[in-house]
């Protein structure tokens, strides 16, 4: 079976195949000094069954807050999150809790993702203990199966504690815990950022295998454009709490239309590229406490005009499935 067929078929029959639809999501935080900042300000996006949506942006752009707000950890300040047709923000606690088994997350820090006081077997069995009243041999069998899939021999690791494993191995355990219930949506928040290059590749390959085996739908959050390109079918680029461009991966990477996306692409250093004389993007991310009016990127944009300061550009389709929030997109 070829996985790419599944994804393209899924993409084709979009309508009823949407797993997640985020509508006008806003997430405010109150800082300890009493100031409010908006980490996510009005994000709309969809994730279709079987696809991987890559969410890319620099630190502080609100991508992690978005991921957690989707999981209602904590719930967004406003906006709606439709998961399999149900608005998670409107569910009562019990129903929301029952939805959670279908929505899983893998985090950045492999060490802190696992409770240091518990054993690997228990950690991976936890979801089944909470949700399946299966007999313990059945639970054990399923945990062993998933541990094998992520590359461990179950007998060897069952009674070990997380600190006996390396970062990459911990991330495998987290992944096993996340997929043991075969969730409908898996949100990966920078799952490989804390790992060395050689281990990153192991985990990325494993994610790909898991996706095929469990027919996972994924949202993959990362700041690393090369990694996002490797895992995603579609990409959404975030800047200061907003999505500035979204579209099929190949298209976005081949021909970015937003000036920010372009600058991000140009900032990637590879072994082939020589350091340019001029940086791709000057300045730094403005503070989310006081974002620029109009287009949020205008303070650093090479193409900025008066209109950009007055009017915020909407995220609009520039071609089929490719949307850009810019008054003057790159032709």
């Amino acid at each position: 079976m070829s996985g790419s067929d599944t994804t393209s078929r899924a993409a084709a029959s979009a309508g009823e195949q949407i797993v997640l639809r985020v509508v006008d999501l806003v997430r405010d935080y109150e800082r300890s000094d009493g100031l409010r900042l908006q980490a996510v300000s009005g994000v709309n996006l969809v994730v279709r069954r079987g696809e991987t949506l890559g969410l890319v942006g620099e630190s502080g752009c609100g991508k992690s807050s978005l991921g957690r707000a989707i999981l209602q950890l904590p719930p967004p300040t406003s906006g709606a999150v439709f998961f399999e047709g149900q608005d998670l923000t409107k569910l009562d606690r019990g129903t929301l809790r029952r939805c959670r088994r279908h929505l899983q997350m893998v985090f950045q820090d492999p060490i802190s993702s696992l409770n240091p006081r518990r054993r690997v077997g228990e950690i991976v069995a936890e979801p089944l203990r909470i949700w399946d009243a299966a007999p313990s041999e059945e639970i054990r069998r399923r945990v062993c199966e998933v541990l094998e899939i992520v590359g461990f021999s179950p007998e060897e690791v069952w009674d070990r504690k997380p600190h006996e494993f390396s970062g990459g191995q911990c991330q495998r355990i987290s992944l096993a815990r996340a997929v043991v219930l075969t969730p409908a949506l898996l949100i990966c928040d920078e799952p490989v950022s804390a790992l060395d290059a050689s281990v990153q590749a192991q985990i990325l390959n494993l994610l790909q295998e898991m996706k095929t085996r469990y027919r996972l739908t994924m949202m993959f959050i990362s700041h690393d454009l090369a990694v996002v390109k490797n895992v995603s079918d579609r990409v959404a680029v975030m800047y200061l709490g907003k999505i500035v461009e979204t579209g099929p991966t190949e298209l976005i990477y081949r021909r970015p239309r937003h000036h920010y996306t372009r600058a991000l692409m140009d900032s990637i250093l590879t072994v082939q590229s020589k350091l340019p004389e001029q940086e791709a993007l000057a300045g730094e991310l403005p503070s989310a406490l006081d974002p620029p009016g109009g287009c949020r990127f205008r303070t650093r944009c090479p193409r900025c005009e008066a209109k950009c300061a007055q009017l915020e550009p909407p995220l609009a389709d520039i071609e089929q499935g490719h949307a850009v929030a810019c008054h003057f997109p790159i032709p």
């Binding site: 070829s2 996985g3 790419s4 599944t6 994804t7 620099e58 630190s59 390396s166 990459g168 060395d196 290059a197 050689s198 281990v199 990153q200 590749a201 192991q202 990325l204 390959n205 790909q208 996706k211 095929t212 700041h223 454009l225 090369a226 990694v227 390109k229 490797n230 895992v231 995603s232 079918d233 991966t249 190949e250 990477y253 600058a263 991000l264 900032s267 990637i268 250093l269 590879t270 072994v271 082939q272 590229s273 020589k274 350091l275 340019p276 004389e277 001029q278 940086e279 791709a280 993007l281 000057a282 730094e284 991310l285």
Partner: protein, 340 residues
């Protein structure tokens, strides 16, 4: 004549688990105006190496286990503490990974830049302030004297790293050691800082040792690149040479592990299995052998010496032979086609 010449440098640590050989028999030299890039994964000893040059490794538990660091005719390994302090921050300067923690949160940035000038150039306070403003301008931090009275937490990450660079360059060092200077920064800011470093290097003619885990960043600034694995340099070559005709299977594996931006999505990556060895228990023979697809019994017996082949040296018993038809780049047990 090289700005710095390091020969057989070894730094070990005495720990309850045994002796950790963090840096083992490392040799290289860097000429004025040139940049040596050192690349390696976490725990390969590259940070200890950078600290060993100026003897910033605390002793104990650190042990100077041999070798020389020749700088302007003196061996820094044998210099007494106070003479070494005169060199630190003046002739040789360092910048570190995290600009957030590299600056003292309760001292103004003016004070922190100024104290270098006061220490090494015997400036008084007001002269130091004037000079600090100039320095900040050269690294791209404008706004004049009132910036000097700000504290690190009032600056952004990129600005902080610019301040640490200003601090490092205050006394016009002949050698700058940059230990992962852009790892904590975003891609766009990383590029700004790298361009700044290169510009300053051109202007001052200093030598630079640039350490990173990121092959791309190292490749973009270095003239020569050394690859470190398990405390040793395993391959060293001029930049272009290294990527075009690498001899060490480890270097190749590092390169293949990174997703290729030109490849389509869902391409299987050339993952290197296993993980780097524990530096307290480095295996016999070639330290990379247990993970190496080329390794045979011979590799597990004796450690390969660093052999030079022109300007290109490598420590491998079974180097990649570029005379043979090249393997498909994405092979690694895979057919190279996109995989779901």
């Amino acid at each position: 004549m090289p700005a710095i010449n390091i020969r057989g440098l070894s730094t070990h640590f005495r720990t309850p688990r045994g002796v950790v050989r963090a840096v083992q028999d490392v040799s290289f030299s860097v000429g004025a105006g040139r940049t040596l890039g050192i690349v390696g994964e976490s725990g390969c000893g590259k940070s200890v190496l950078s600290r060993s040059i100026l003897r910033l490794v605390p002793e104990p538990p650190g042990i100077r286990a041999g070798g020389e660091v020749l700088f302007e005719g003196r061996d820094l390994q044998r210099l007494d503490e106070s003479a070494l302090r005169d060199i630190r921050g003046s002739a040789i300067a360092m910048i570190f990974q995290d600009p957030m923690t590299s600056l003292n949160p309760v001292l103004t940035i003016g004070r922190q830049i100024g104290e270098v000038l006061e220490r090494h150039l015997a400036y008084n306070r007001s002269k130091a302030r004037t000079r600090a403003v100039e320095l900040l301008e050269t690294v791209g931090v404008q706004c004049g004297p009132k910036r000097l009275d700000e504290y690190p937490h009032q600056l952004s990450g990129g600005m902080r790293q610019r301040v640490t660079i200003a601090m490092a360059l205050a006394c016009r060092p002949r050698l700058l050691i940059a230990d992962e200077p852009t790892t904590a920064l975003d891609a766009t800011v990383q590029m700004q800082i790298l361009i700044l470093l290169k510009r300053l290097q051109r202007e001052t003619g200093m030598a630079m040792i640039f350490i990173s885990h990121d092959l791309g960043a190292v490749a973009s600034v270095a003239d020569e690149i050394a690859v470190m694995y398990a405390g040793r340099i395993v391959e060293k070559a001029p930049r272009a040479d290294l990527f075009e005709s690498m001899r060490m299977p480890y270097t190749q594996a590092l390169l293949r592990a990174r997703p290729d931006l030109d490849a389509p999505p869902h391409m299987r990556l050339g993952a290197l299995e296993g993980r780097p060895p524990d530096l307290a228990r480095i295996p016999e023979g070639c330290a990379f052998a247990p993970r190496c697809s080329h390794a045979d019994a011979h590799c597990r017996i004796g450690a390969p010496p660093l052999r030079a082949d022109g300007g290109h040296s490598f420590a491998c018993w079974k180097p990649i032979d570029h005379a043979l038809p090249a393997e498909p780049v994405r092979a690694n047990g895979d057919d190279g086609s996109p995989k779901p």
